[in-house]
Every structure is written in structure tokens, then in C-alpha cells.
Symmetry: C2
Subunit: 152 residues, 2 copies
């Protein structure tokens, strides 16, 4: 893996994931960071609370960061997310022109970056983020395992 | 094609697309219809107005229909959209459990249903809508062509 050393941004994403679990949501968290390292938005999954199937952590964080910048693009911004994004979120990441995507656990069943449709590798993908997977993957995965074990 | 005869729902989606063009947005419109044929939501693309790269017509219509039903699923509902959905929207359609997807023009450059990642054909796709493409495709395509011709 060629990613830079982990920093506080993934810790913040993990805190958002833990908060999502506390709300009864699938525990995934996401943080958008500017080129200068400023946190522009942080969000956890809220699909149940909002009755919105698109309210994944990544989408909420991207929408909030765009609103804050008054821009539909987040050029040169990076996204930290605790789980490999699904195809919906991966495509939103591409549309937002996110520079680098750092994610925690891989998601063989639902991921769309290194699994499934591998959105950034599609010929019709107009912007591919640089991808660094596996950051704090154990902690991110443990949150999900604990959540689903509790549900059973 | 095995789709039922065209009806007013695609006309409404086309009107939403035309209204989007009037706002300077890429002209795409979408309508969510209940099993009983009731229009639950209609929306046009608003990515520029809202500074939101996820504000495609389909996402806005799905979110509005879910909000109206207080449900994160639109089981047994159908979606009419003037253009083949992109991978983001196709995945959102899957998450929302949309029953049937009727779309107008195919989109070889950006579509994610019959083109690109063909989201519903992915092994990791948990719900595939029934797809009927090509409804009023000429009108839907003409709206897009006129819009982009004007931009050049």
C-alpha cells in the first residue's frame, strides 16, 4: 500500500460510524477534507432516520461540503470513509471530482471501488479518485461486525 | 421491447426535463409512480442550482417519494426517467427497490444500466429493477441535443 500514514481524519470518520451505530444505522462514517487539511464536512449513515436510501455517509458528507463551498465540485478535496464505497457513492465521488479516497474495510458484498462494478475503472468514468484502501480496516470492520451481530 | 404502451408518466418526465433546461440544467426529468398509478414525485435535474453533484432527477424524485411515504423503500413503485440512469442513480434505484424502470434515450457515455457498469447485472446487485428503455427516446434525446448545441 502506498498511502500516507494514517491521521486524525480516519479517526473522525470512525467516530461518525460509531455515532451512526448508536442511532441504529449501519455504522459507516465519512469526512471531506480540503487540500489544506481542513475538515469541510463529516457525516454518518442516516438512511433510516431520513427515510432516504441515498443518505449514505459519503453522499451526506459530499453534499454538505459542496453546500459549504457553494460548488458542485470538490476538486483537490479528499474523502475518508470507514467502508469501501458502494457504486452509488463511488459515482458521486467521481462527479464531485474528489482527489483522493481513503477507505477502511473492503466490502466484497456491496463495494463498488475494488469490488463489484469497480466504478473508477469503467471506461465511461470521467474522473477517477486516487484510491487508498485498508486504513484502520480492522476498527472499521469491527464496528460493522458488532452492529450486525447485535441485529441477529 | 416488451414494455406496456407509453402513457402520461413519461410525458411528465419530459416536461420536468424541459423545465430543467429552462433553469440551465442538463435536461433530465424523472417521475416516481405508485403501483396504483399515482404520481408520488416528479423532479428535474438541479445539480447546478443546488450545488449538489448528487441532485440528479432520479435521486431527487426517489428522495421526495420516500419522504412522502416515510419509507426508505419504494417497493412496487415504478420510475420514469427521460435518460438512461447513470451508475449512481441506477444503484439508488436498486436500494429503493424500484419495481420497473422506464427510460427514454440510451446514454452510451454516462449510462449505467445498459451501458458502462450495467449495475443491475452485477453479481453484487441485491435488487434489479425490470428495465424498459427507449420510451419516447427521440423526444428525450432531442431535448439533450438542443441543450448541448446551445451551450457550444
Amino acid at each position: 500500500m502506498t498511502s500516507p500514514p494514517p491521521n486524525g481524519h480516519m479517526q473522525l470518520a470512525l467516530a461518525e460510524a460509531a455515532a451512526a451505530a448508536g442511532r441504529g444505522e449501519v455504522p459507516v462514517g465519512a469526512v471531506v477534507v480540503s487540500r489544506e487539511g481542513r475538515v469541510l464536512a463529516a457525516a454518518g449513515n442516516r438512511t433510516r432516520e431520513l427515510n432516504d436510501p441515498t443518505a449514505h455517509a459519503e453522499v451526506l458528507a459530499i453534499r454538505a461540503a459542496c453546500a459549504g463551498l457553494n460548488s458542485e465540485r470538490l476538486t483537490d478535496c479528499d474523502l475518508y470513509v470507514t467502508l469501501e464505497p458502494c457504486p452509488m457513492c463511488a459515482t458521486a465521488i467521481s462527479f464531485a471530482r474528489i482527489r483522493r479516497l481513503y477507505f477502511g474495510a473492503w466490502d466484497p458484498k456491496g463495494g463498488g471501488v475494488d469490488n463489484g462494478p469497480r466504478i473508477f475503472s469503467q471506461e465511461t468514468c470521467h474522473h477517477a479518485a486516487e484510491v487508498y484502501g485498508g486504513l484502520d480496516a480492522t476498527r472499521a470492520g469491527d464496528l460493522l461486525k458488532a452492529f450486525f451481530a447485535q441485529k441477529r
